[in-house]
Point group: C2
Chain length 325, copies 2
């Protein structure tokens, strides 16, 4: 910058001003400096700037795994929106491991991120969340699809219980009664869904214990169905906590000669691309990845600007009906 200043015959302060507050410098000198900036292809050093102004205009994103269809949707919108507001994002994949999460949190704090967004990185074991709360002592953090009480901790969540309820209601309205729910047990949001299922089944006077624990993948769905059939259960519908599980379930159902949606209806969760491409196309609960991300960004940016923001934002999912029901 000193070189630019010399070339333009001004002081370094003036160069800094044309870069940051051009209106404060006389149009004539401003143009002169700008011309030189162009000619020399000058690129300002944001690190030095960050040191002075105490902000790197960067947000840290902690996620379990970007390859997850839902997470990648969320992260996409997060990134786009943040750059809209002049922030960049530092991305990490914790793989769901507390140790990794801790390490990432540390280096993100060291790298002076202005805020943190956790997408699917809050775990049930409370010990794993200690570091999140600690991070809150220095910068705001917003959780997507989780809730935690603490200084500087904000949440935007999807009412998953309600989502599953809608699915149950819809199936019941179709006259189906033997409805099963395939859950994976790991995540915090998984619990809310189960709650929704139990509540809805109870309301309709149906068996609220029709819950099968499966792993969160294709095979989980297959195994779940096989278990049901092996036990000679009557089943007229299955709701899955994940689209991929639902696809597996459909595979297994079809393989055993059952017709979808004729014999059994299937509903997934997340409304991912898998739901669209499945055949029959899968009815699925849309938990609004993009909308959640947008709210999170809005929340964090407002917070960073010192505005008053609410501790928790809840969005309601919608049921997207396709061929599988």
């Amino acid at each position: 910058m000193q070189d630019i200043a010399d070339l333009a015959g001004v002081s370094i302060a003036t160069v800094s001003r044309v870069l940051n507050q051009p209106e404060k410098v006389k149009p004539e000198t401003r143009r002169k400096v700008q011309r030189i900036l162009e000619q020399t292809n000058f690129v300002a050093n944001a690190v030095a700037r960050g040191l002075v102004v105490n902000s790197m205009k960067t947000i840290g994103i902690l996620t379990v795994d970007v390859r997850d269809l839902y997470f990648s949707k969320v992260i996409y919108t997060l990134e786009r929106q943040f750059t809209e507001y002049g922030y960049n994002v530092l991305l990490s994949n914790t793989g769901g491991e507390v140790g990794e999460k801790k390490k990432y949190l540390r280096v993100m704090l060291e790298k002076q991120v202005d805020g943190l967004i956790l997408v699917g990185s809050v775990f049930k074991e409370p010990t794993g969340n200690k570091h999140i709360l600690e991070a809150g002592h220095s910068i705001p953090v917003v959780l997507i699809n989780s809730y935690l009480e603490g200084e500087n901790i904000y949440s935007v969540v999807c009412d998953d219980a309600h989502g599953v309820k809608q699915a149950v209601n819809y199936l019941v309205a179709q006259g189906r009664k033997d409805i099963y729910y395939f859950t994976d047990t790991k995540s915090a949001s998984g619990l809310a869904k189960v709650d929704g299922f139990v509540a809805a089944m109870r309301e309709h006077g149906l068996n609220e214990r029709n819950i099968i624990e499966v792993s969160r993948n294709l095979d989980g769905g297959v195994k779940g169905v096989q278990q049901l059939l092996a036990e000679k259960r009557k089943v007229s519908a299955v709701i899955c906590g994940e689209d991929i599980t639902a696809i597996g379930a459909m595979k297994a159902l079809t393989a055993s000669g059952l017709k979808i949606p004729g014999d059994v209806g299937v509903i997934g969760y997340n409304n991912s691309i898998l739901a669209e491409t499945a055949s029959p196309a899968l009815t699925s609960v849309d938990n609004l990845a993009a909308a959640m991300a947008r709210q999170a960004v809005e929340l964090l940016v407002n917070r960073l600007q010192g505005k008053e923001v609410s501790r928790k934002i809840v969005l309601s999912p919608t049921l997207v009906i396709r061929e599988s029901t």
Copy 2:
């Protein structure tokens, strides 16, 4: 850090040393300082450090869209591998727009990234690549699945022509002759695939002009098949440049009463989760997302350590055979 130094009764330089080169400080004082670091929850400022050592230990990743199944696989591995080497990644989604790409490149340079990785962000119009070459003047950049000639520009690519050839060969070996290729025209790697198709068909003495331009989505595949059927063409196989297109093609084929793989075989590209979950499960060319990413990281890290590295690395895709053929 000065506070820590005062508390420990040492100089600020000593504190810096226990942080960065612990072996250089006497075990006794080292422990004393470390204890205080712990007690006070000290977090070093990596921005200040970065300013001095002239490296933020950060890599910029430019991608078109993280939601893309292939890209997200690549990005996942990139991120994991880079943190293995002590780097973090700054992520961006250009949406395939040259303007966005230019803006991102700029701020990444300003933020002093140590290197750049472009995944699927090199376009055919040469004007759009000017800024990549410019970036190469200050830091190393590695392209995934693209090739560009220039200072500091490296590539790791997948031999897509060979990938499509394998697909053709396999179909021909099954006795299929009326093989069509569905291409999307936008990307640079799309061209290589078409070349591979043309070459392979020619080798087998088949019609190398069986190429249909379709959009890169479900509907593209549907439309492509509809066009073929409307033209009363005989078709015994279709290869698609993308899994999603192949899924669309299968939908349309099944809808018109054709059996897969009996009447027509279908092959996709990328071996994404869509291929696994499709029914029938889709045969697909695996272009090795993880392997490519690993090579890219290796390349860039070596380059940053001043080692000699090769300008271009080529990996060979493999054909993953499933039910659709």
